[in-house]
């Protein structure tokens, strides 16, 4: 049985005490009507929706999965009702501007909603996530008239959306895609081709599905420079089918309630979105948000895994814990008393809360990057988002999977049994490390694209404030956290400087990428823990217990996780040889 209460107190703490919501996000012109109190009211409601509507369907959805018959896809029992509740609650369009039919709330609200929805039911959460992505892509790149026709229906949840990128031969390398778009002569196009791994490509939650499709025009140059973006509805305006059919759905390891479809486009009528051949660039502008969304899935899984493991550890009685007082004839202790179980729980908690803080930070900076009135502030925020996006995606999904795995361990044998719910979390979490650019690709993005961009300008958006915080004079309560954070920053600095020269050899950089990203992530988490700890020194009334737990978790992170940065730095700087030297045949 999964246990989950939405982490409202933590969201409030982050927004109020760490990221100054009212001073930063609510100060942006579009969000003047979204002060902290309003936002927290919305989040409490969202938490309730996840706890009461989504969580109960999580096991059922996994057990039944989606079913395919004659081109139609049926979602698991209860999904249709839950979707209706989602629409009724107005959750589909929370991030869409009011003039386009949404609630116009800050991105951080959308992010928090996503995290809670993923905790409750990751498979279900993929449907609204894709719709929000499609709406946001259309708002960014489509004509006003196209936006008018599509976005309000997506924002209301009446229609759903997809992103159709992958083809059998074109996964990570989209330059290889072949779906063709022929001009029909009337301004529209006819699309032909087959897309695979399309999340929500066909289902019974909405009648209309709006597909955003990458395809090639007849005169398109080869590779990624020749890809254009099209909007292709499942149904034509008169309600007739539009030549988009679902050939099958995948049978997969996890998120079984999420329909993963093979879609055939056979003369489907589509409209070009934006300029010809601009598809890749358009996707790039979407990527930061989509990758943040997947990182948040990892946080959501981590949270529910942690809470479930704690609940189990409190009630499961086994053995006598060392260091505890035991009276004569006393029975076994709850396993939460055992240091190694506590280690696992604290690790889950420290990584999950840091991941949440990172996701909120990136979401805040995304809003600043879009809406701040001062260009230099927008640029700085955009830099930070670009730098942290591969980190939030890769590190938070790795941590989500690790948390699910640790939760299985805390459960012991029970964790391996389906009924516990935690083995499903591990299976569900695994995909988040793969889709939207595998975590290996995230690491290459960080090291190969983000580090050299503008001669390293992105780096200083992170390093300057972080180093200043860690090296500033600290009150005694914080010194134990600040010291290890400063050490981690030194490891990251030295490794980054080393990469500045050694990384000119692209093989060297590629061999370093994954370890370097992890080093960066753990260091950034350290900085966030220091900020959170500092915010706990003078807790608001009634928050004393929360602050005590926060400080204790910060201390655990500094003592028990940050030292990994030294090992990672050393691993990176050992160079590529041990990775590249062995011949392919010797494997």
């Amino acid at each position: 049985m999964l246990t989950y209460r939405a982490p409202i107190a933590d969201f409030r703490f982050l927004l109020r005490d760490v990221f100054d919501h009212d001073g930063v996000v609510a100060a942006l012109p579009p969000f003047a009507d979204a002060p902290l109190d309003t936002v927290m009211a919305v989040l409490e409601e969202a938490g309730g929706f996840s706890e009461q509507v989504l969580l109960p369907l999580n096991g059922v959805g996994d057990e039944q999965g989606c079913t395919y018959r004659d081109g139609a896809v049926r979602t698991p029992d209860g999904f249709r009702e839950a979707y209706a509740a989602l629409v009724a609650g107005g959750w589909s369009g929370i991030g869409v501007a009011p003039e386009r039919g949404g609630a116009g709330l800050p991105g951080v609200v959308q992010a928090a909603f996503e995290e809670m929805a993923c905790s409750g039911n990751l498979a279900f959460a993929t449907y609204p996530l894709l719709s929000a992505g499609a709406a946001s892509a259309l708002c960014a790149h489509a004509s006003a008239e196209q936006v008018e026709r599509y976005v309000p229906h997506l924002a209301s949840g009446e229609w759903s959306g997809t992103m159709c990128l992958t083809e059998a031969q074109a996964g990570t390398d989209l330059g290889l895609l072949r779906t063709a778009a022929e001009p029909a002569g009337d301004g529209t196009f006819r699309l032909n081709g087959t897309k695979v791994f399309i999340t929500g490509g066909e289902h019974d939650l909405t009648d209309q599905i709006v597909h955003l499709v990458l395809a090639r025009l007849p005169d398109a140059p080869a590779g990624t420079a020749g890809i254009s973006l099209f909007v292709v509805p499942k149904l034509r305006p008169d309600g007739d089918p539009n030549g988009v059919t679902c050939g099958s759905i995948e049978h997969k390891m996890g998120i079984r309630g999420s329909a993963t479809c093979v879609l055939h486009f056979e003369g489907a009528v589509g409209e070009l979105v934006g300029a010809p051949h601009a598809g890749m660039a358009q996707m790039f502008t979407m990527m930061n948000r989509a990758r943040l969304g997947v990182g948040i899935q990892g946080v959501g899984i981590g949270e529910v895994a942690y809470q479930t493991a704690v609940a189990y550890a409190r009630q499961r009685l086994q053995g006598r814990a060392p260091g505890r007082a035991h009276g004569n004839g006393a029975g076994a202790d709850p396993i939460i008393a055992h240091p190694d179980v506590r280690r696992a729980l604290l690790r889950m908690r420290a990584l999950t809360e840091a991941g949440r803080a990172l996701a909120v930070w990136v979401a805040v900076e995304l809003d600043v990057a879009h809406h701040h009135l001062v260009a230099s502030r927008r640029e700085a925020a955009d830099d930070l988002v670009a730098l942290l996006t591969p980190i939030v995606k890769a590190a938070c999904t790795d941590n989500g999977f690790e948390a699910a795995n640790l939760a299985i361990g805390v459960h012991g044998g029970a964790g391996y049994i389906t009924e516990s719910g935690v083995e499903q979390l591990a299976r569900d979490a695994r995909i988040s490390q793969i889709y939207e650019g595998t975590n290996g690709v995230q690491a290459l993005d960080l090291i190969g694209r983000k580090l050299p961009l503008h001669h390293g300008r992105l780096l200083r958006r992170f390093f300057h404030p972080a180093v200043a915080r860690a090296t500033a004079p600290q009150p005694a309560e914080l010194a134990a956290v600040a010291g290890p954070v400063a050490d981690a920053l030194t490891h990251l600095q030295e490794t980054t400087i080393w990469l500045g020269t050694a990384g000119r050899d692209r093989e060297q950089a590629a061999a370093a990428a994954t370890d370097y990203l992890r080093l960066f992530a753990l260091t950034a988490f350290g900085d966030l823990w220091l900020r959170m700890a500092a915010a706990c020194l003078e807790p608001a009334a009634g928050d004393a217990a929360f602050a005590t737990a926060k400080l204790a978790t910060a201390r655990f992170y500094a003592d028990r996780i940050l030292p990994e940065t030294a090992a990672l730095a050393r691993a990176v700087r050992s160079g590529k040889t041990s990775i590249t030297a062995m011949s392919d045949d010797a494997f």
Binding site: H455, G456, R457, R460, V467, L492
Partner: protein, 724 residues
């Protein structure tokens, strides 16, 4: 033959005025004559020309202009008269007859013709002129192009020797003596190469960008390639030279088989697209967009990115496909033509290599290219093409400058050599001539070694530039990750190394040519003496990168302005140093570097870059006897009130110009603080090291400023300063 002490130039066009300016650069009083008031106007226009033909305003004062109609007797006391009038044999002959009536007996007359044989100039000449007349063929622009071809003909050998010495030692030219054959050496081959390259590109349907990429970097030819070069030279001039070749070359000369491209040139000229002088040629600009011409339609279109090509000549000519075939079609025949120039045009193949290097900027001449590609391979392939192969194709010059021994010490950024006679030479050779930790370590080490094992040390860079200053990419990399301690260490390493240079027990002589900017300039300012090539561009340009000089530049300039100040008190020197650094002044010549205080009166200038190192070594040996390093000086600083005055000056400058930004003013304020003693208000005499400490403090604070980092990023990305 008496020495040449006065000169005259007849003609004040681009070449005439340029030659007159460069004679003045060498310190020769010059008379410049032309029709009407043309020479007066040309003289007035000289300081405005770019690149600057004059090394200093003082040089301009050595030129007197006059009219050819009334003032011909001004040439009466000239030892050397250069004729640079219209390219017309009869006009020149008529001028020589008029000159003969006024010129000093025994004076030498030279024609700057590029197309008329010496023999033709002498037809019907006054008796004895053949003993005084030579051709001196300058390249444009005369100050900067290093080749000078001299056709001595029948002139008196002693007079030609004196002339060559002046051209070599005072004008700084690489002098190549030529026979009286059309185009002499460089243009004879160059024009053949240009014609073949254009004709083959047309015949093969290549774009100008493709042709220029092939005829450029992989062959060690400047990036302008052939079409870009034509734009610089001007299509008109090229047509003129072609016409003279057509008149003068033998009927069986291979030049006559160059694929026809006359029609293209005529159409371009008819269109007014005659090159950069006209604002457009094969290339043009539309705002920030570079345009290239379509060779068929003659319409402009945005220039394409150059194709990716192999890096070596051999790989290029073996490259399958149209670009490799084009490369061989042009290069192969050009090499064969060069071989056929021996004997006849010259007996010495190495002179052809030298002329192409100095006259066309090729890294390697044709014979060096043959050696690199492989003589047997070249001969075989030419034969297969049916091109006549002559014996000199086997004459392959050696390209690698052989070093007698290994360096004494060295790393990736600098090497220390024993050059004999007790002089060591530290050669700087880092990436992009930037100063990095390796270089600083080698400088310290070189001084250490020189102090015990040598009598003097020369620091130089064999590349085009001495040093562009601290490695900004490295520094910015440290600043981006807030590695403040590492930045401080880098600063300390620089200050240590430069202090070692300044207080070395043996003289350290900087041998500089090209750019010496920022830290490169500061390094030279710490040397006991500097031997500078005429084309030395020195400057403390740190403000453009959002910094102030941090390796002693502020202190050294202050020491110099203090020594030079005529008025009393600490304020005038501070003011002078402030203006030079705040405006990031860069000298356009060694002479100007002296006016700006980057060079001292005892520093010396070498006109000929080939002689720079030898002159610097001699200088070091001259200083070595009884050398004593300077004592650390005391400086009286202007204090807080002085700082306020400097800031006021900066404010006035800002109001006078929109180009000055708020951050410029901030930087000026920081600089003013360093030059006047900073917050400490060091108004009493302080040891010079106190100013170094202020520099270090200021730089370390600026590294934390976003706008400084923006400036550094911009300099790295564009090579230009940013005004933010």
């Amino acid at each position: 033959m008496s020495p040449i002490e006065r000169a005259a130039v007849i003609g004040s066009g681009t070449m005439g005025a340029g030659i007159a300016a460069h004679l003045a650069n060498a310190g020769l009083p010059v008379v410049m004559l032309d029709l009407g008031d043309a020479a007066t106007k040309a003289l007035a226009a000289l300081p405005k020309r770019s690149p600057p033909p004059l090394v200093s305003t003082a040089a301009a004062r050595l030129i007197r202009a006059g009219s050819l109609e009334h003032d011909l007797d001004m040439v009466a006391d000239a030892d050397w008269i250069v004729e640079a009038i219209v390219e017309d044999a009869e006009a020149k002959r008529s001028l020589f007859r008029r000159l003969d009536a006024v010129r000093r007996p025994g004076s030498i007359v030279s024609s700057n013709t590029s197309t008329i044989p010496l023999a033709a100039l002498l037809e019907g000449a006054p008796a004895g002129l053949e003993r005084d007349l030579v051709i001196t063929h300058f390249f444009n622009p005369p100050r900067y192009m290093r080749l000078l071809e001299i056709v001595p003909g029948d002139a008196r050998p002693d007079a030609v020797d004196v002339l060559e010495d002046v051209c070599d030692l005072r004008l700084g030219k690489t002098v190549v003596r030529c026979n009286d054959t059309p185009g002499f050496i460089a243009n004879r081959l160059g024009v053949y190469w240009i014609g073949t390259a254009i004709g083959e590109a047309l015949a093969r349907g290549l774009t100008v960008e493709e042709a220029d990429a092939v005829m450029g970097a992989p062959l060690g030819i400047p990036r302008t390639g052939v079409f870009g070069l034509m734009d610089i030279v001007g299509l008109g001039l090229h047509e003129q030279v072609n016409a003279s070749f057509d008149r003068l070359l033998p009927a069986d000369d291979a030049w006559r088989a160059v694929p026809d491209h006359g029609d293209l040139l005529r159409r371009m000229v008819a269109k007014g697209a005659t090159g950069r002088g006209a604002g457009r040629g094969f290339y043009a600009r539309d705002g920030a967009t570079r345009l290239a011409i379509d060779l068929e339609t003659l319409e402009y279109r945005p220039a394409a990115r150059p194709p990716r090509l192999p890096r070596t000549a051999r790989e290029l000519v073996e490259l399958p496909g149209p670009l490799g075939e084009y490369a061989w079609a042009v290069l192969g025949r050009t090499l064969a033509y060069a071989a056929a120039m021996v004997p006849g045009v010259t007996d010495r193949p190495e002179l052809i290599d030298l002329a192409m290097r100095r006259g066309y900027g090729w890294e390697r001449g044709p014979f060096a290219l043959i050696g690199e590609i492989g003589p047997a391979w070249v001969a075989e392939r030419l034969e297969a093409d049916g091109v006549a192969v002559t014996a000199p194709i086997q004459h392959t010059a050696t390209v690698s400058r052989s070093r007698p021994r290994d360096p004494i010490d060295g790393n990736d950024s600098a090497s220390l050599w024993d050059t004999g006679d007790g002089v060591a030479c530290l050669e700087l050779h880092s990436r992009a001539s930037a100063i990095d930790l390796d270089m600083l370590a080698m400088i310290s080490r070189a001084v250490e070694i020189a102090a015990t094992d040598f009598r003097g040390l020369v620091i130089t860079n064999e590349g085009p530039h001495f040093s562009v200053g601290a490695n900004l990419a490295y520094v910015l990399g440290l600043a981006n990750v807030a590695a403040w301690e590492r930045l401080a260490e880098f600063g300390d390493a620089g200050r240590r190394a430069f202090a070692a240079v300044k207080f070395a027990p043996v003289p350290v002589v900087g041998a500089v040519g090209g750019r010496a900017l920022g830290g490169g300039c500061e390094l030279l300012m710490h040397c006991a003496a500097v031997q500078a090539h005429t084309d030395t561009f020195m400057g403390l340009v740190e403000l453009g990168a959002g910094l102030v000089p941090g390796w002693g530049g502020c202190r050294e300039l202050l020491l110099r302005t203090s020594a030079a100040a005529s008025a009393h008190g600490p304020m005038p020197p501070a003011q002078a140093a402030f203006e030079t650094i705040a405006r990031a002044r860069v000298s356009t010549s060694a002479q100007e570097a002296r006016e700006l205080g980057f060079l001292r009166p005892h520093d010396r200038i070498t006109p000929n870059r080939d002689r720079l190192l030898a002159d610097a070594r001699a200088f070091a040996l001259e200083l070595a006897d009884g050398y004593a390093p300077p004592e650390p000086a005391q400086l009286t600083l202007a204090g807080r009130s002085g700082r306020a005055t400097l800031e006021l000056t900066a404010g006035q400058l800002a109001r006078a110009s929109d180009a000055v930004t708020e951050y410029d003013l901030h930087l000026a304020g920081v600089l003013a603080g360093v030059l006047t003693g900073g917050d400490a208000d060091l108004a009493t005499p302080v040891p010079e090291a106190a100013v170094s400490a202020l520099e270090a403090q200021a730089v370390s604070a600026l590294f934390r400023e976003e706008r400084t980092l923006q400036r550094m990023t911009h300099v790295l990305a564009t090579g230009r300063p940013l005004r933010n």
